[in-house]
């Protein structure tokens, strides 16, 4: 093992339980690394439930008409699937898990600025999640509005909308506080000698993300409160029957929910930007361009929400304005892709599972991104808006993008987090199956979407059945791959061979300390390099 771990003071954060014992040493933990693991376990649980719900829908879609459930149930299943996956998996996802774990280490800090606030954020997250579960079991029945809660359906349906929106409202606070904590941490706790442009690019991505969390999340908070007030007290914000405007809800909802897409994607891009240089042993190409493009995406991303509403009846001026900005915000993402691929040029490429996941990410992200162009262009949007095409597009972005980046991250950092290594061969098998299953599952949705198959349809005309069948088979293959992947990772984390401090020859700070890290991360002052990706 590494030379540092021979140090007699070294106690792994996994063994150091502080004041409390057993489970309490986790629930009461303020160590950013323990909190990261808490988030990871909760998020993985929700992810698995979400996948089970997804597969139930795919079973239902096997044949037209009723296959395994009734329309009412299907509607609540896609609603819960969306709420879980968006608010409880992908929005916290990378920043709460890997951001918490590696942001302080990347900048040479012992912890985040407010460790207790960090613990509190996780508690809020748990409370919000419990409320989401409650919304499923309370008397009026599970919500059936879709995760978008569009009014006036959401203000009139009899299901538990109040509890579900209250859950999303509470979860928002967890996100806001995490963002706040990260911003302050990056400003205050960078090790001496580390300027902004000496930081690795993952903290850069988290920094841009944190600003979105802080500024955009309150908007959805207010919106959901307005919805609750409308349901509870019949105050007419959105329902025309009460004198409200349904488009107002859509605007407010997307003012948050479009930037939220970047809360998912920016950290994902950050992860890929860490992995590629390491496995190519080459400094990232265009460091500044990548760093600044994160801020550009975050900034312009605030102004494009209307592309979800081209057909909503908003004014024609708004339609072209939002379309133009949507196309402009595509450019910084393209720049990142070019930089990643150029970083491979003349590198020394080690094709290990994290790198393969990064490649899969780039491929899926290009498909997700370019189909986004078809959605951003007004004429073509009219054809594919609210169809299976959109379902395919956002799964390519959030599952193929953010999800595969999460998988890449866990294959990359698991040896650091647990001090153990997983089986490469099994990991590669899982990856190949995931990749094939994913494309079979979602690609057919592009095709039937173009032909007009609407989304959120319990039933469908028989002409769409062949594609639905392929898609369902893809779903089963994907689930097989996920099971293999999770099994391999869990087995590796528990019983794998001890991992060295720097298994991938990485150059950022987490690889200069033992695996797993000690409680305070750095038992000796870290040496700050001017260039975080210096492989000489």
């Amino acid at each position: 093992m590494s030379n540092v771990s021979a140090n007699s003071e070294y106690v792994s954060y996994l063994d150091h339980h502080g004041k409390y014992k057993g489970i309490m040493s986790w629930i009461m933990a303020t160590d950013h690394k323990r909190i990261a693991l808490l988030y990871m376990y909760s998020i993985m649980t929700f992810f698995i439930i979400g996948v089970v719900l997804g597969i139930m829908m795919k079973l239902e879609m096997l044949t037209p008409g009723e296959t395994i459930m009734k329309a009412k149930m299907y509607n609540s299943v896609f609603t819960l699937h969306g709420i879980l996956m968006i608010f409880m998996v992908v929005i916290p996802g990378l920043s709460a898990v890997f951001g918490n774990f590696f942001l302080p280490i990347h900048i040479g800090a012992k912890d985040v600025s407010f460790p207790k606030l960090n613990r509190f954020s996780w508690w809020i997250f748990v409370v919000g999640s419990i409320m989401a579960v409650l919304s499923q079991v309370l008397k009026d029945g599970p919500p059936d509005t879709g995760w978008t809660f569009y009014a006036p359906y959401s203000t009139t349906t009899s299901s538990n909308v109040i509890m579900a929106t209250a859950a999303a409202f509470v979860l928002g606070f967890s996100s806001i506080l995490t963002g706040l904590n990260f911003i302050v941490t990056i400003h205050q706790l960078r090790a001496p000698g580390m300027k902004f442009f000496n930081m690795p690019l993952f903290p850069w991505a988290l920094y841009a993300t944190a600003w979105i969390q802080l500024l955009a999340t309150p908007v959805i908070g207010i919106t959901l409160l307005m919805l609750i007030a409308e349901r509870a007290f019949h105050i007419g914000f959105f329902d025309p029957a009460l004198g409200g405007d349904p488009l107002l809800f859509q605007h407010l909802f997307w003012i948050y929910s479009h930037p939220a897409v970047y809360v998912m994607m920016l950290p994902a891009m950050g992860v890929i930007t860490e992995i590629i240089p390491t496995f190519c042993q080459r400094q990232i190409y265009g460091y500044k361009a990548v760093a600044v493009s994160s801020l550009a995406i975050a900034g312009v991303g605030f102004l494009v929400w209307g592309h979800h509403m081209y057909t909503s009846g908003m004014s024609d001026t708004a339609r072209w304005f939002f379309s133009l900005l949507t196309f402009i915000v595509a450019v910084p993402s393209a720049i990142k892709v070019f930089n990643w691929i150029t970083t491979m040029y003349k590198g020394s490429i080690d094709v290990k599972p994290p790198f393969l996941y990064a490649l899969a990410f780039i491929f899926l992200f290009i498909i997700g991104g370019t189909t986004g162009l078809l959605l951003g262009s007004v004429a073509t949007n009219v054809q594919v808006h609210d169809t299976a095409f959109v379902v395919a597009h956002f799964h390519y972005i959030i599952f193929g993008g953010m999800g595969f980046a999460f998988f890449a991250a866990i294959h990359y950092w698991l040896p650091k987090m647990y001090g153990r290594m997983y089986d490469f061969k099994m990991a590669n098998i899982g990856l190949v199956i995931n990749f094939i299953g994913f494309n079979l599952l979602y690609f057919p949705q592009f095709v039937i979407g173009i032909q007009g198959m609407p989304r959120r349809y319990f039933d469908y005309p028989a002409k769409f059945q062949p594609a639905q069948l392929v898609s369902s088979i893809g779903g089963f293959i994907l689930v097989t791959g996920l099971i293999i992947m999770i099994y391999t990772l869990v087995k590796g984390a528990r019983k794998g061979a001890p991992a060295p401090a720097n298994p991938w020859r990485g150059s950022t700070l987490e690889w200069q300390i033992p695996s797993p890290p000690s409680v305070e991360n750095f038992d000796e002052e870290p040496v700050i390099k001017e260039n975080p990706y210096d492989y000489k």
Binding site: K72, G141, Y153, S158, R282, A289, T311, P454
Partner: protein, 303 residues
């Protein structure tokens, strides 16, 4: 190469093809590059990595080129779209009304149809409205789609270029039977159209007030007036009939009267007719006393 189903197909499909073409080009080139690099610069080949300095000119190029490409994409997308909002003066005006979960079409002269029949080669303006929640009016073959928003008029228009039947889908999620909210556009010759118009009957100017309330609240979507079973029990002959209901889990038999009907509207979960799932119908608490009375009166007459 492009279908002639409507006047918008060309604009939309050409934008689609150009954007998809450029996208596929980038996907193929970038993927090929990745694979090539992985093979060529594989660590197994034993060559050490070369650190390469950033090149300003290169980076500006790959900011500028995508910028030009996306601005071009924006332009063709916008160009294909503008005509969809510019309705010719001489268009035939038809109103499409969405309600949970069906489309209804109102022709000039206060005539009502379930199928949208239109003459070929004429501009048709469709005024879109909704009586309850959001709905979508989507005709994939015509490349048109606009939302139907309660209390906020919206519109769409087209000129059909080929005879035949085309699907209409509701594309904005609107609750339980959203996926059954389908319709048909039938494109016919002008002669056939004129003939068909004559067969349309006029909408009852003064349908009973109770009926209007039922329509407005979308009750008819689930409760038929002719005895057929849709989602809930039919209204035909309901008043005075006997039925088995389950009240908090235990079954009992009741006779339908004013009190029962009113309760079933404001609190449908209290007595659930045996054989129908509980919880499907939402409570309609916003109906006024007088509305409830009118409904009761109307149902009494529905033998």
């Amino acid at each position: 190469m492009f279908s002639k189903a409507s006047n918008f197909v060309y604009g939309v499909d050409s934008a689609f093809l150009i954007i998809t073409g450029i996208s596929v080009f980038f996907l193929v080139v970038l993927t090929a590059l990745m694979i090539y690099f992985v093979i060529k610069y594989n660590r197994k080949n034993g060559k050490p990595a070369q650190q390469i300095k950033d090149n300003m000119a290169l980076e500006i190029t790959w900011i500028a080129i995508p910028m030009i490409i996306v601005l071009y994409m924006f332009y063709i997308g916008w160009k294909g779209f503008i005509p969809m909002r510019v309705v010719p003066e001489d268009a035939i005006e038809i109103t499409a009304e969405g309600s949970m979960w069906k489309f209804k079409f109102e022709y000039p002269g206060n005539k009502i149809a379930d199928t949208l029949v239109v003459p070929i080669d004429r501009s048709i303006l469709i005024n879109l409205k909704s009586v309850d929640v959001l709905h979508g009016f989507s005709v994939p073959a015509f490349r048109i789609k606009e939302d139907m928003v309660p209390n906020k008029p919206n519109y769409s228009w087209f000129t059909a270029g080929e005879l035949g039947d085309y699907d209409i889908y509701c594309t904005v999620y609107c609750g339980l039977n959203h996926s059954n909210m389908l319709g048909v556009i039938r494109v016919v010759t002008q002669q056939e159209y004129d003939k068909w118009l004559l067969t349309l009957h006029e909408k009852l100017k003064d349908s009973p007030q109770g009926m209007k309330i039922l329509e407005k609240n979308g009750c008819i979507a689930c409760h038929s007036l002719d005895g057929s079973k849709v989602v809930g029990p039919s209204f035909k002959g309901i008043y005075g009939s006997k039925r088995k209901v389950s009240t908090s889990g235990s079954e009992r038999e009741i006779t339908v009267d004013d009190a029962y009907i009113t309760k079933s509207i404001v609190d449908p979960g209290a007595d659930v007719v045996v054989g129908y799932p509980a919880g499907l119908m939402q409570p309609y608490k916003s109906l006024s006393e007088s509305d409830l009375k009118l409904i009761n009166e109307y149902l009494k007459g529905l033998k």
